[in-house]
């Protein structure tokens, strides 16, 4: 058996007397800093909870009574703390945590492809392109939850008419921002970045399809897709691209991100449809955020998310099960 003798211990291994004498103080300091860290987190959380109302620069819009849903809107806090924005991470709270680092000024939007007047718009021009309207839309996520959200913006058609699509234009592709330094999610390979979505031209020109700049009368928070995003209320939420940098008019149907990633789960059309299930769950019901809690069953999902009267005609004669 090997037994260490006292002489085996190197002088460098011995704690110096001065440090040894401070051992209680050092431990206290360590404990105090740990406690301070914990308390800072707690204090921020309290401050945050108290400050849950709308914030940021004002961006009012005139109420458009044609587009008001009478359901109760979700709270500012829920809308801004529960997001899918995979550029910032796949967790629902990741966007709120990280999106602050995204730079939204200067910002331009390229409009190109099958148009007579391709153009690069500055965000300030877009803000003045048409009068701001407030519209309260339902948003149904493909994951089975929904929110009611007061958006501020105008119909995408206002922009489309400015650039004059050619006769060849049949689809509109929406390309979203990639800022690797600010977006921890794009370093992963969940999606082939940038995130790309698309609509048929007639869907894009539908008055319900909205270019959104604000929320609850304030400029869009970054995690909700600042400085401009889409809202297509009769389709699952992932069709409404955030932080748009390019709109391209095409003749062929564009390859969209979720179709590329999992075509058997997410289709090009992605119309809200209670009769066509997702492979992993039923789409017949949904949980309304801020409304349906622990003691209420989920509510029935409506065909085209309740917008059937306005949009069902777009899909006349089409097999919606095949074109999910």
């Amino acid at each position: 058996m090997l037994i260490r003798r006292a002489s085996d211990i190197l002088p460098s291994e011995i704690t110096p007397q001065s440090v040894y004498a401070q051992r209680r103080r050092l431990m206290l300091q360590a404990a105090a800093s740990a406690a301070a860290l914990g308390l800072t987190g707690w204090a921020n959380r309290q401050a945050f909870a108290a400050d849950a109302g709308p914030s940021g620069a004002a961006l009012p819009g005139a109420r458009n009574d044609e587009f008001l849903v009478m359901d109760k809107p979700a709270s500012w806090r829920d809308i801004t703390q529960y997001n899918n924005f995979y550029e910032f991470g796949t967790g629902k709270t990741d966007p709120a945590r990280y999106a602050g680092a995204m730079s939204t000024r200067p910002w331009t939007l390229d409009v190109e492809g099958e148009v007579l007047r391709p153009r690069t718009f500055d965000i300030d021009d877009l803000l003045k392109l048409a009068p701001m309207e407030e519209r309260i839309y339902r948003l149904r996520c493909v994951e089975g939850w929904s929110m009611v959200i007061p958006w501020v913006g105008y119909s995408l058609e206002k922009l489309i008419s400015k650039v004059e699509p050619t006769g060849n234009a049949r689809y509109v592709e929406f390309v979203t921002a990639v800022q690797p330094d600010a977006m921890p999610g794009v370093r992963g390979r969940v999606i082939d970045w940038p995130y790309v979505e698309a609509l048929r031209l007639d869907e894009a020109r539908h008055p319900l399809t909205m270019l959104v700049f604000g929320l609850y009368g304030h400029v869009l928070p970054n995690q909700n897709g600042a400085p401009l995003r889409l809202a297509v209320p009769w389709k699952y939420g992932f069709k409404s691209g955030k932080s748009l940098v390019k709109i391209r008019f095409t003749e062929k149907q564009p390859q969209t991100s979720w179709v590329k990633t999992a075509a058997h789960e997410y289709g090009f059309y992605a119309n809200v449809n209670p009769n066509v299930d997702h492979p992993r769950w039923s789409q017949a019901t949904e949980r309304r955020i801020g409304e349906d809690g622990f003691f209420k069953p989920k509510r029935q999902t409506l065909m085209f998310n309740g917008y059937a009267d306005q949009v069902a005609s777009l899909y006349q004669g089409m097999d919606l099960k095949a074109n999910y």
Partner: protein
């Protein structure tokens, strides 16, 4: 011969049972309290408005995660016992297994209650139609006989068959990781699946390696 312990017993007295120097009774109490931490955290978050915008989704996912963690802790018992030469760790195994079952019950309940609202027809249809749900359901079913036969009485009654029956837990692990993989596969978000699957593979792989080495 009694297991080696740091403090040598006086001659004639039985050696106190210890795990890494901690008296067994204290270790069991600590382990029990540790097992309650996830539950305590949910209650705390619930009371402080901390469950987020979709509390049902949070609790469903969190209970699934903790079920899996408890399962891995249970499966880690034997390897740790052997590698750390702490034979008394076996005395914590039943408790970790029962915690796995406890959190699995809560996880299933989040689905049966909040997702399906106890509608039996729709649950049956869901289980039949969706491999994702079916795998989770089967994983849960494999845990039931293990929990039922976890008592001393059943161990005695089943004799050598008890060990064979409890090898079912390896299947629980496989079903659970497939369930988790299907949950994340659609969104291509597999980092956590690799972490849990990696630990599971090491724990099961160690058993295979040991078996063939010993043969």
């Amino acid at each position: 011969m009694p297991p080696a312990s740091p403090s040598r017993p006086l001659p004639g007295q039985p050696a106190p049972l210890r795990i890494a120097g901690i008296p067994l009774a204290a270790a069991k109490t600590l382990f029990f309290l540790l097992g309650l931490v996830p539950l305590a955290r949910w209650i705390w978050l619930g009371m402080t408005d901390g469950l987020g915008a979709n509390p049902v989704e949070f609790l469903t996912r969190s209970s699934g995660t903790w079920t899996f963690i408890c399962l891995l802790v249970t499966l880690a018992n034997t390897p740790l016992r052997v590698l750390l030469r702490q034979p008394l760790l076996i005395r914590l195994r039943r408790m970790s297994g029962l915690f796995t079952f406890f959190y699995a019950c809560l996880h299933v309940m989040t689905y049966v209650w909040w997702d399906q609202w106890f509608v039996i027809d729709s649950i049956v249809a869901d289980v039949i139609e969706r491999p994702f749900i079916a795998l989770g359901f089967v994983a849960f079913l494999t845990l039931v006989p293990l929990a039922v036969t976890s008592t001393q009485g059943w161990m005695r009654r089943l004799g050598p068959r008890w060990r064979a029956l409890h090898r079912l837990v390896y299947l629980t692990g496989l079903f659970a990781i497939l369930h988790f993989w299907l949950h994340r596969a659609g969104k291509n978000d597999l980092q956590d699946v690799f972490i849990f699957g990696g630990v599971l593979a090491v724990l099961l792989g160690w058993r295979i390696w040991r078996r063939f080495r010993l043969l």
